[in-house]
């Protein structure tokens, strides 16, 4: 017997951070979460699984488009045609979603109630599935404590949307302990909520399958579901199956000693080729971090946009529509020793010392922040809050930028003088 365990589909949640540029594979990337769900359905049908488990977060909490629900229902209907049942628990996002309340799902989908845990016995294939949905967005008690003990003689599966002992970047909902889960005597715990794939325990198995599709540069690497094979009432195999349409990856380009932009582009090309090779024909969203001290720093600093465009053109060239350069982060340094310059008595030395003294100078930081009040008024709320927020009232932001400022000024002033 086989079944599929998936979670955190976050259907129609848009991919973040992808600037569009000339030649970017926009069409290929469109609706990635939908394509990933289609892949899940295709895999389930192809592998002839008995049932599919979805451990919460089908939708994205604030997304209100009913079309999304219809699409999901349609995919579930495809599973019904193939005679595959779906067992679903609602996660924190589903509890917050309006779609959940209004949508009727096909009759092959069994949604576990939120009032108390229930058990679905499938005696013909020897399986018992236990599960409980979220009734509200924030569930802070240990739901697993209320789950019944394993049903004797059946293969027992527990479905739970939980942060387990707490995971970075995820709200600590329905906290539970490994021992608590193991004490139920189940054969397999199908968990959801944490987007990174993780096997907490083997035999009995406790598994976070991760989300189906990475949606931003913090959700890196292969994404998909777990395909579980059960032989003689025991887990025989738990395989990770890749379903993602777009894969996120972060690569570093070592600029150490690079003489000019052409050389850096060549190094970037090699890095991109390596990543392409690894992606196995999948669309790739790459963040390039260029770092190191080099002669090319000056040119790079003054022509940053041009370099980024050239990197992207390069990606178009070698990627054949499979490569999206999400961001090029420049962390190069001038090939001069700033520490030594900082010790000098001339104005340049004083400039470096001034910059280095700024982080502890609250008053000046405050006055520098006030330079950005026009920008602050204009910036959308979404930029100033949430993940990767640019908080224009936070002196720490200026502090973080001062290292770059030092590099910009030294490069430009020396360039100016060196031109003589």
């Amino acid at each position: 017997m086989k079944f599929v365990h998936a979670a955190d589909i976050h259907l129609d949640s848009p991919l973040q951070g992808l600037e569009r540029y000339e030649g970017a594979p926009v069409d290929e990337l469109r609706g990635a979460t939908r394509r990933a769900l289609e892949n899940l359905v295709q895999l389930s049908i192809g592998e002839k699984v008995e049932f599919v488990l979805i451990a919460g977060d089908v939708y994205d909490g604030d997304w209100k488009d009913y079309n999304t629900g219809l699409f999901f229902a349609r995919q579930m209907a495809r599973l019904r045609e193939a005679g595959i049942k779906v067992y679903l628990i609602r996660g924190n996002h589903d509890a917050a979603s309006q779609i959940t309340r209004e949508l009727t799902l096909p009759d092959n989908v069994r949604v576990f109630p939120s009032r108390k845990p229930e058990t679905e016995n499938l005696p013909d294939i020897g399986v018992a599935i236990h599960g409980q949905s979220y009734s509200t967005q924030a569930v802070t008690n240990d739901l697993s404590a209320g789950y019944p003990l394993a049903t004797e003689g059946l293969f027992n599966i527990g479905m739970l949307h939980t942060a387990a002992g707490g995971r970075e970047g995820h709200a600590n909902y329905a906290p539970c302990t490994l021992d608590g889960l193991l004490s139920k005597g189940y054969h397999y715990w199908a968990l959801g909520h944490v987007h990174e794939r993780e096997v907490l325990h083997e035999d009995p198995w406790i598994v976070f399958p991760g989300n189906l599709q990475g949606r931003h540069a913090r959700e890196l690497g292969s994404k998909g579901c777990s395909l579980v094979t059960v032989v003689d009432g025991r887990v025989h195999l738990v395989e990770h199956r890749e379903l993602d349409v777009v894969r996120w990856c972060g690569s570093t380009v070592n600029a150490e000693g690079a003489a000019d932009i052409a050389e850096l582009l060549e190094r970037s090309r090699r890095v991109l080729l390596t990543e392409l090779d690894r992606a196995e024909n999948r669309l790739l969203a790459v963040r390039l971090v260029v770092h190191g001290a080099c002669q090319a720093h000056k040119a790079l600093e003054m022509h940053e946009e041009q370099f980024v465009s050239e990197c992207r053109a390069l990606a178009n060239d070698i990627g054949g529509g499979h490569l999206w350069v999400e961001k090029v982060r420049l962390q190069t340094r001038a090939a001069v020793n700033l520490d030594e310059i900082a010790q000098r008595a001339d104005p340049l030395g004083e400039l470096v010392r001034f910059i280095r003294g700024l982080p502890s100078d609250g008053a000046t930081l405050g006055s520098l922040l006030s330079e950005f009040k026009d920008l602050k008024q204009k910036l959308p709320l979404e930029v100033r809050h949430g993940n990767d927020a640019i908080n224009l009232e936070d002196p720490a932001l200026i502090r973080a930028l001062l290292g770059d400022v030092e590099q910009i000024l030294v490069a430009r002033l020396l360039e100016q003088g060196g031109a003589k």
């Binding site: 973040q16 992808l18 219809l70 910036l379 003088g417």
Partner: protein, 1169 residues
Amino acid sequence: MKFLKLHFLAYGCFTDVRLDFSEPGSGFHVIYGPNEAGKSTALRALTGLLYGIPAQTPDAFLHAMKDLRVAAELVRSDGQHGTFVRRKGNRDTLLNSEDKPVPDNLILEFLCGVTQQMFATIFRLDHNALRSGGDDLLAGKGDVAESLFQAGTGITGLRQALGAIDIEAEQFFKPRSSTAVINRAIDSYEDARKRSRDLAVAPRQWTEQSAALNEKVADLERRKARHLELSVQKERLERCRLALPHITRRKELMQALDALGPVKLLPESATRDREEAQRNQRDANRRKEEAEAKLAKLNTDLEQLRLPQELLAHADAISSVRERLDSYRQAARDLPTVRAEQNQFEADARTILSEVKPGLSLGEAETLRLTVVQRTRLRTLANEHHTLRERLRGASERAQSAQVQWKEKNRMLEQTTAPRDTGELERVLERAIKLGDLEGILNRETSELRLAQKQSAAELKRLPIWTGTLEQLETLPVPAVETVDQFETEFDRLSNEQKLLSSRREDDYQQQAKVEEGIRTLQLGGVVPTEQDLRRARERREQGWRLVRHAWLEDAADPEQEKAFDGDRPLADAYEKSVTGADSIADRLRREADRVAKLAELLADKEGRERRAAELESTQLALTMALEACQAQWREKWQGSNIVPLSPKEMRGWLSRHAALLAQAKDLQARRQSIAQLNDRIREHCAELCRALSTLAEPAKNEMESFAAQIQRGQAVLRDSKNAALKRANLENDVLRSARDHEKAEGEHEKAQKELDAWQNHWQQALAPLGLEAETQAEEVIAVLEELDTLFAKIEDAESRRLRVGKMEQHLALFDSDVHALAQSLEPDLRQLPADQAADRLQSLLVKAQQDDVRRQTLEKQVEQQRKSQDDAGRDSEQARRQLDDLMSRASSTELPALEEAEQKSAGLRQFKAQLDEVNRTLAGFTAGDTLDSFLTDTAALKADQLPFDIVELENEIRTLDELRSQLNQEIGVQRVQLNAIDGSDKAMIAAEEAQSALAIVRTGTERYMRLRLASEVLRRQIERYREQNQDPVIKRAGELFPRLTLDSFARIKTSFDEKDRPVLLGVRPSGEEVAVDGMSDGTRDQLFLALRLASLERQFSSGEPLPFIVDDVLIKFDDDRAMATLKILAEFCSKTQVLFFTHHARLIDLAQTAVPTAQLKIHRLRAH
């Protein structure tokens, strides 16, 4: 840092050019190179030396890239020396004085963090920089902050740099721009977000719409049912109305059938069958008559036809003759030509024969014919002759040359020397090389040792309390750390106790003060009586009473005593007073019991505290003594090392530094040992190598030669020896090879001679059949052979013509005889004609006879056909008659007219029945599935007049329903379209993705904008800060220099504020007139900048390590007086740093000699080599 020496070993136009700056006291160096002498090259070489020669250099025209070399000796202000050589290359370009690569940071130590660009801007001044500085002053309108910053760094174009950053930042963001990157992206973001919101369908909206639609659909279904019901009713009534005329017609038909009576029913086709049979009978009779007439005519034609049977019998023979006729005529034409050709060939053959062998007849010519073998052999031999001759000549030449070669190699071999045995040297070298770069390691270790020694010496110097050498330190008896710990614990304990004690004493003291304060307070409220007071009062009363008793009862007054008791009063009063006093005290004691008790308590407390204070005092004393004893012990522990110890804690720190120093001493010892070992090994291997070299008769060792050089030399000797041995072996091989070559060439020569002899023999034999002389040349024989070939060809051609003539004559005779025989038997008249004409005539007769025969056969076939037509017509007539008989028997009639009447009746019956069926069928169409009978019964019950009105009423009702339905359908359609538009589409999501994409641009742009904006702001602020910190001293000093540079055209510099309140520079004339920078001449502005620049540099040179100040032809636009003034100021710089003044104006040398004190000045002249 200063340059002591510069040495252009090989650079640009220089070869081995030396500049010496080391003369004591000299600080101002004029380096003079006229045009083309390489002043700029020297400047480049100087930078190249310090920072490396750039990959692309224009200075490799005389010396190759790899050979470029510059050397220098440098010294730092702390006295550290360094000699470096810079070569052109990719790595290891810096070498020390021994040409060994050294790391770049050795030279960077002399540069103190000054990068190449800084060196070029800060420490160098040239005419262009001066001009740009002056221009920048004008552009900035004398802005003090900018001018100072620029003068301090030598950076020009600061204003443009700042402007560029601002412009770049504005490309990202500007509050009211619509094109800046961030502004544009925000617009796109808002737009996409709005679209996404508009495209999204709220889930509740869908549910509600869906419910409304379902309600409408149900309503529509109900109305449809009613519509159906009414339609059925209406349709039934309409059917009945339409059926009514047909019901009437049915009744009429039934009546007509009854009127027809009994009828014999004939087949429907009866009349048609009869008429057809009658027609067939007539037609058959006509055809029979026609056939008979045609037969009679054909028979007549046949009888008239006559055929020549004999001619036809010989048809084949005639045709055969006719076919041969063409070839007969051809042969007759060709015969004379062939005869002529035969004669021609015979004549040619005879002519050729007479040339080859005169006197021989054609018949005898056969004796000259050679077999193929003989002919081929002759040709082969003729061909071989030339080859053999050539081969012999070649072999003889090669034999001679091989001999010469062999002799030459032999001579060379004799001249080379025998090889030496280098086995030992090779082994020694291999061992030495295996050890690696021992001297390099030794150098490194030695320099590391030196560094470590220096470090430990510094460490040692920093070690407090004690002075001495490291060795003394090693033997210094110091207590163990454990002892220090023990003392520290003891000291801590004692000091803690002391602290505790003094805090307790402090407490007590405070309490005591409090108690005393309490007593004082109590006493302030009036004296408090005590028991003691009472006792004293009572005792006085008793004493009084005793005196009273004595005086009163015993009458023994004692005036002395009484006076003593109270001298002022008589006894009675005094006693009374004492009684009152005692009573009053007793009363107060009772009345003021609280205060009394309080005072008693306070007094008791005070007493107790005073006692405890005394105890603490003694404890304190004991502690102090213990502490002193402990300190004495502590000092004693350190006595051996002659150290007066600090506190144990400090001494523990001291001990750890001491231990570190000991470890360093140990490390130093280990290093020294390692170096000694290295030295031993180098010496040992050196000796070994010397021995090996001397056995090879090589010089053993040069005094100055290093181990590595010795190894290199050893390797060179080894390489040379091996090369020589290899060369000799090669030569020996060559000698052997040329001997072999010589021998081989001789053999070949001999073989070629033999082959030529054999050929001569064969040639003689081959010529015999032709009867030719043995000396006949090959070419002549070939000519004879070719002539013979032609001769035999001619003879053969003549023979073939002769045979052909014979055959042709035979053919002509045979044809004549055949034609003659045929004519004889068929047409004797034709015998008179020539054979070919007779054959033509016979042929035309035959053709005529064959045409007649064909016509006969056609006629006979036509007769046959007509006979068959006659028979068919008879049969058809008979069949038609039988059909008529059959029809009549069926109608039971014997005559044709009776048959026709029966046919009419039968047709009538059939027609009525058909009409009735038709009516029934029509009616069945109205019954709508009901039986006809029940329909007729139902219809009979309806009132025919009422029907139309009922129908109209129903129609109205249905029309109303129709309108309602159509309206409902429309509404449902609209709602369906709306709902269907909600089809799971991803449009809203795509718009959301677009919004995210725009947001990403906003983020990236914001980060970049903030960096740029911050950079520009920080730089502005720093420029302003720099002004605040340096304005006064720099402008003051520049104000002193400026009058000198302008030859007192200006008196000083001052700062003022412009209309925007910015501090700006002004020049002040001796008259007090103030001149803004835009009012100054170009030259004056340059001098103002120079004054600022020099003032800034002076300030910088006073702190930190100064670098040489490079002045590159800055005075070219100055007149002599101003140049002189400038030179004087530059000369003053010598006290701060070295000044290298590059120029290509000889005039400036003269000026410098006047302006600069001779001791300081040194002139260097560059000469290109």
